[in-house]
């Protein structure tokens, strides 16, 4: 579900889905200080005053996590079609074209291989600014291909989720991407390769209810909205206001749904440690095969 619309209505003055700072000077969403835009971008899209985590463009995210000059792009060879002839207030092809015209990649995903602190990894990064990061056939296929290829090439697999959920305009085909992406993780598990899932603001719906919450380790950035049903849906269902901090990273951590909440500046180092520790015994300890009774 493209939850971005609900968030948008809450902040009617915001022009863009993308919460990346725009304009020369901006008022920080969190501390409300006047901050120089370039300072935020240069600071990994964090507010220099209060460390508020802004949404991060996919290329910047890749550069932050992957060692310099080591990235090999896998995604981008396939693009969306309009399997249902879907029309709401606009046609689906119009929505796709508008998104593609303002983005570098053909859909809401970037995948590829690279080194993370010299460890071989594959990575899939979702783009919330492209149609709410919604998961349709292309996003699902790219994630499945990346997971399968990571297993084949013996790489750890990392996903960075940022998604409103399944892409409604592809109907039940989008729903099936939840099964497809989930099933593609089996190849990694059978080779005992780690799958680290990073949840960022916002992650909800079909993305949260599939591969993104099946990581061997699941972490989130601070204060990210992470939900199955979005806050507006729940408010409409129960007819009351939701408590402060509901469905934010810290709330999930307290409820036992996350391994940790990690500041963006420490994210690469943490992921590196996880992979290193998880893989250390993989080749040295002999797996004892217990015969079936």
């Amino acid at each position: 579900m493209a939850l971005d619309r609900w968030f948008r209505r809450k902040k009617p003055n915001r022009k863009d889905d993308d919460k990346s700072p725009s304009g020369l000077w901006i008022k920080c969403d969190s501390c409300e200080n006047q901050v120089y835009r370039k300072d935020i971008i240069a600071n990994l899209h964090l507010c220099p005053d209060c460390n508020h985590h802004y949404r991060m463009p996919v290329d910047d995210r890749m550069e932050m996590l992957i060692d310099e000059d080591s990235f090999e792009q896998w995604s981008g060879t396939i693009g969306p079609v309009d399997p249902l002839g879907f029309v709401d207030l606009k046609t689906y092809p119009e929505r796709i074209k508008a998104a593609q015209d303002s983005h570098k990649y053909p859909d809401a995903i970037l995948t590829g291989a690279g080194l993370l602190d010299n460890q071989r990894v594959a990575i899939a990064i979702m783009d919330f600014s492209f149609n709410g990061g919604s998961m349709g056939s292309v996003v699902g296929e790219e994630i499945a291909r990346a997971a399968e290829r990571a297993a084949e090439e013996e790489r750890a697999f990392i996903t960075v989720a940022a998604s409103g959920g399944a892409r409604m305009q592809e109907g039940a085909l989008s729903l099936m991407q939840m099964a497809k992406t989930t099933m593609s993780l089996a190849a990694l598990a059978s080779k005992r390769l780690p799958f680290i899932s990073i949840l960022t603001d916002p992650t909800s719906g079909g993305t949260t209810a599939s591969f993104a919450t099946l990581g061997d380790i699941i972490v989130a950035e601070p204060k990210a909205l992470i939900a199955f049903a979005g806050p507006r849906v729940i408010e409409q269902t129960i007819k009351q206001e939701l408590p402060e901090g509901f469905q934010r990273s810290e709330f999930l951590l307290n409820n036992g749904m996350l391994d940790d909440v990690i500041n963006r500046k420490e994210l690469k180092q943490k992921i590196s440690k996880y992979i290193n520790l998880l893989l250390a015994n993989r080749t040295t300890i002999k797996v004892k095969h217990v015969p079936a009774i």
């Binding site: 579900m1 493209a2 619309r5 609900w6 060879t77 396939i78 693009g79 969306p80 079609v81 399997p83 249902l84 879907f86 709401d88 207030l89 053909p106 349709g136 056939s137 292309v138 699902g140 296929e141 499945a144 399944a166 892409r167 409604m168 592809e170 109907g171 039940a172 085909l173 989008s174 729903l175 099936m176 991407q177 939840m178 099964a179 497809k180 989930t182 099933m183 593609s184 993780l185 089996a186 719906g205 079909g206 949260t208 209810a209 599939s210 993104a212 919450t213 099946l214 939900a227 199955f228 049903a229 849906v233 729940i234 269902t237 129960i238 939701l242 408590p243 509901f246 409820n255 749904m257």
Partner: protein, 317 residues
Amino acid sequence: MSLQFEKPIDDLEDKIVDMRKYAEEQGMDLYEEIGLLEKRLKRLKKESFENLTRWQRVHVARAAGRPTGLDYIDKIFTNFNELHGDRALGEDPALISGIAEFNDQSVMVLAQQKGRDTKENIHRNFGMMHPSGYRKAIRMFALADKFKLPVITLVDTIGAYPGIAAEERGQALVIAESIQRMSELTVPAITVVIGEGGSGGALAIAVANKVLILENSIYSVISPESCAAILWRDAAEAEKAAEALKLTAKDLLELDIVDRIIEEPLGGAHKDPQAAIDSVAKAIKEELIELNKLDQAELLQQRYERFRKLGKFQEMA
């Protein structure tokens, strides 16, 4: 209570009943006249149901009197023993699960259960499962795997329950885990969408080797009402959303999302529940006989390939 488009059908049915009564009372022979009306009724039913809009089909899928999970369990399976609880958080009455006999084989049955009246609907939470329900499903999949019981799931939910407690207890995580656990089954798995297949809440118990759907059932990424609220900004536009979402059995067969459509009796399953139940039993039996021929590795492979190929995209120049 009848659906709006059923009014002419119901009127004609009433007329036939009246005529029969009149003929009996007056001792008149109206055999021929009644016969003609019955033919007309059959034609009217056929034409109406062939030409239902998608939105009308949504109403049939949700119609009062349409057989529910328990109706199928009672009539199709013998020696059914319900198994309750997720052994952690509680018992979710929106999902009924248990072991039973079917066609000389022990099987595991899971069924989402909507209520057949208001009281039962409240007890069953209108068929909307909580995390404990999905945890129960995962437990049943494991049990089925261990004792090599084929798994049969009956899907009928508008979606997983959206609420504070459900979020606190990881609704999204348990749905993901249920999808994963079902995909790993080393036994045959068959799903029948008997009413409404609503989003991830339905998919969580629908990762089967064969996914069947009743003729007037629907299966969708989102309910037409919620889709309309988001894309049209008005839930009242659900009719348009239902058209756009292509959520009928016929649509889904064309997209390979379902493998087989099970025919309903003329006028819909709610008009003749026993006939619908018999058709479902026959279809499950036929599919299970075929799946029983596959070994564990073949079952896993077939299920993987079935879902792996779903999706439509183009190569970029």
